[in-house]
């Protein structure tokens, strides 16, 4: 960074200690710039893994905010702490046993504490993915697995919802169960896939595949260059 000197420097407070960092960094790169080397609290660095949950409050503001360190730009006067781990017990299950047609409400059965939801909506406000967390908890409560699965689809399982919940709900584990039930039981099975799997088991493509495997580069190149392209799906 040759242009470091040209940049405006701002103050951030890492667990209370002040550092001066150049403007424009993310919380993650600002901590690294300050000399922290991550072991915990850093994963994909791209907003997909939920490892870098960060809690902060800005100087003079009453509100506690939550976000991902890798996706949030630092601002002057941020007081930061990371939450790299969330103690939230999940309930095990066998996927064969959670058919919604055979059960009254599996979600409520596995996570009875969802009935404690008082609609405070703190979970939704804590979510860095802007998921309507309370809404999917409410959908789960009334057995609407499909809605719970769809609403929670963008969940990166950082756990900030569950850390903030006054009713001690384990939202992201609940949502995971809802999505698996939807994927397995509510979504219809693909008949095209079933047909292809059957054909493969009958060895339908073996001969052609073996032929390709034994071709020389020149032979392959010829076939490849003559491919036709599917125009529409």
């Amino acid at each position: 960074m040759s242009d470091e000197e040209d940049k405006k420097m701002i103050d951030i407070y890492v667990m209370g200690r002040r550092y001066k960092v150049p403007e424009g960094l993310t919380i993650m790169t600002a901590l690294e710039y300050s000399g922290y080397k991550y072991v915990r609290g850093c994963g994909c660095r791209g907003g997909f893994c939920g490892a870098c949950s960060t809690v902060y409050r800005k100087e003079g503001e009453y509100k506690l905010k939550m976000d991902l360190a890798c996706q949030t730009a630092v601002e002057d006067g941020m007081f930061l702490v990371q939450l790299p781990f969330v103690p939230a017990v999940r309930k095990g299950f066998e996927i064969e046993d959670v058919d919604p047609k055979q059960n009254d409400n599996v979600l409520l059965e596995k996570y009875p504490e969802i009935a404690r939801c008082v609609s405070c909506n703190t979970c939704t406000k804590a979510c860095p993915q802007d998921i309507k967390v309370m809404d999917y908890v409410q959908a789960s409560l009334r057995g609407d697995v499909d809605r719970a699965a769809k609403l929670s689809f963008d969940c990166i399982q950082c756990g900030l919802c569950s850390i903030r919940c006054p009713a001690d709900i384990k939202h992201y584990h609940l949502a995971q169960l809802a999505r698996r039930i939807k994927g397995r039981y509510i979504d219809l099975e693909s008949s095209e896939l079933a047909k292809m799997v059957e054909e493969l088991q009958e060895g339908k493509y073996d001969e052609e595949l073996n032929k390709l495997c034994s071709m020389s580069k020149e032979e392959l190149k010829k076939v490849y260059d003559e491919r036709t392209f599917q125009k529409e799906g």
């Binding site: 405070c120 909506n121 009334r142 057995g143």
Partner: protein, 285 residues
């Protein structure tokens, strides 16, 4: 009172699970009447008893959030079916409207979520049906005159007085609606007694005592069925007959209307099968 083409409908959790018969029949009946019930896009648990137990304002948050949802859908009238939800939503709404300070506190707590403006009115389906007597009568295609029916109100539709759908001591709304189908309605002296409510969870004995009295009286009067609108009363009155030798089905009023309209809906989740009785009377084939 309500002048829309249909009604924004708040179901409550029970109507989506145990009392789906109620919802299914009510929807079908209202469709048939040309005033469909349209389920709200977003809604939350009414808060059930939580919001009634103490004077803690925060317990009103759940029902008020549902008011906000209606408001965000651009509506100011909301219809619900479940007596418990009706009672909770109506009471919470009234309290907030009567106490501007409470409204402000709730809105402040909701923070960046939209404020509730206090403009939504909550109605029970009975209040809607009461205004449509003519239309209901026109839709009746089945002769129910062989049926003898005891109406049952329980508590939640009538108490406290401020939110009652009818006269707290001697309501008539259900009698009038049942009468439209041609069925015989008896004057049920037990119609506003409590079914035992949530005691069903851990004090079944209390509920059993209530059921013996309420259903026992109906048996004495030789009725064919009891008609009501509360899913919890419905469960209690049917389920706890297991300790008696009674055999009286308990139907939602909309199930009865659906039968009269010739609609094949509901009647699936009863602990005491109403279909047998209806077949005996040649009402169902």
């Amino acid at each position: 009172m309500i002048t829309m083409d249909g009604y924004l409908y708040y179901p409550g959790c029970t109507l989506k699970t145990k009392a789906s018969d109620y919802e299914e029949s009510a929807m079908a009946v209202m469709d048939a009447l040309g005033k469909p019930l349209v389920e709200m896009e977003d809604w939350y648990c009414c808060g059930a008893v939580q919001s009634l137990t103490t004077d803690d304002l925060m317990h009103q948050l759940a029902p008020i959030r549902t008011m906000c949802c209606a408001q965000e859908e651009g509506e100011n009238e909301l219809v619900t079916l479940c007596d418990m939800c009706y009672n909770v939503l109506k009471q919470a709404n009234k309290r907030i409207k009567d106490n501007p300070d409470d409204l402000e506190t709730i809105n402040e707590f909701q923070d960046e979520d939209p404020d509730y403006l206090g403009d939504v009115e909550v109605y029970h389906l009975f209040e809607v049906l009461k205004e449509m007597k003519k239309e209901i009568k026109k839709k009746v295609v089945k002769d129910l005159s062989s049926l003898k029916i005891a109406p049952y109100y329980g508590c939640m539709l009538l108490r406290p007085t401020e939110i009652a759908v009818d006269d707290t001591e001697d309501p008539k709304i259900m009698e009038e609606l049942i009468g439209l189908t041609g069925a015989a309605v008896i004057d049920n002296p037990k119609k506003t007694e409590c079914c035992g409510s949530y005691h069903t969870v851990n004090r079944g004995d209390i509920v059993e005592k209530r059921v013996k009295e309420i259903v026992g009286r109906a048996v004495e009067d030789d009725v064919d069925m009891i008609v009501l609108s509360c899913p919890l009363c419905q469960f209690n009155l049917e389920y706890h007959q297991r300790v008696t030798d009674f055999d009286v089905p308990v139907l939602y009023l909309t199930e009865l209307l659906a039968i009269a309209f010739g609609l094949e809906v509901g009647l699936k989740k009863h602990k005491i099968d109403p279909i047998k009785k209806l077949k005996e009377k040649d009402i169902l084939e």
